[in-house]
């Protein structure tokens, strides 16, 4: 069964450094999402992406964040200058079409900012 994959599984970085989190959504899915979960807290929506543009973003998704689908298979989340409070689990999700409701999640990337 097709799955959403994410790399790396864990990343440790220094405050102020740039990080890129990578996701490979399920093939033929059209809608893509990033969520994050700070340890012990609920999962929060960051951004959604459709037809090569952002369709919605949350207040968390400020100018330090960007998303890209560079090659038709990967979907990336970039944090330009990481802060301590960016430490979290980052989940990528994808959805097939507008008529199918379920979002399928990847295993997540655990980001630790020191």
């Amino acid at each position: 069964e097709p799955e959403v994959t994410q790399t790396p599984s864990h990343q440790v970085t220094q405050m102020g450094q740039e990080v890129i989190l990578r996701c490979v959504p399920i093939s033929n899915h059209l809608y893509f999402y990033w969520y994050r979960q700070i340890l012990g807290q609920k999962v929060e929506f960051l951004v959604s992406f459709y037809n090569n543009e952002i369709s919605e973003k949350s207040e968390i998704f400020d100018d330090q964040f960007s998303v890209e689908r560079p090659d038709g298979s990967n979907f990336t989340l970039k944090i330009r200058s990481t802060k301590l409070e960016d430490s979290a689990m980052y989940f990528c999700a994808s959805r097939p079409t507008v008529y199918q409701e379920t979002q399928y999640f990847g295993p997540g990337t655990r980001l630790l900012v020191l």
């Binding site: 809608y31 999402y33 969520y35 807290q41 609920k42 999962v43 929060e44 929506f45 959604s48 459709y50 037809n51 369709s55 919605e56 949350s58 689990m89 989940f91 999700a93 959805r95 507008v98 008529y99 409701e101 379920t102 979002q103 399928y104 999640f105 990847g106 295993p107 997540g108 655990r110």
Partner: protein
């Protein structure tokens, strides 16, 4: 804005018994979708069950079923014949109806940690 509330931070159940996890939500929309996701210690979010608000019949997936009360805005999850592998965080989530090009983001509750005792 929609909100989702899970009032039970932790629950426990004996193996083979039945447990019900509560979820309430607030929305002004009449059509929407509700989900239960499971997050085991591996941290991956796994879909357990979903419910379309326009369907009166409660969704069922094997040992998992929901009690959807639209007027009360309640969406509880019942796990029958609990197994050790059911131990996980369970998140209730809400999603607005689909629109072409819309995001249909998921709004999550804070989760309920379920422990299954042998």
């Amino acid at each position: 804005a929609q909100t989702v509330t899970q009032s039970q931070p932790e629950m426990s159940v004996q193996e083979a018994e039945t447990v019900t996890l509560s979820c309430t939500y607030d929305t002004s929309e009449s059509d929407y979708y509700l989900f239960w996701y499971k997050q085991p210690p591996s941290r991956q979010m796994i879909l357990v069950i979903r419910q379309e608000a326009y369907k009166q019949q409660n969704a069922t997936e094997n040992r998992f079923s929901v009690n959807f009360q639209k007027a009360a805005k309640s969406f509880s999850l019942k796990i029958s014949d609990s197994q050790l592998g059911d131990a996980a965080m369970y998140f209730c989530a809400y999603r607005s109806p689909s629109t072409q090009g819309g995001s249909e983001k998921l709004v999550f509750g804070k989760g309920t940690k379920l422990t299954v005792n042998p």
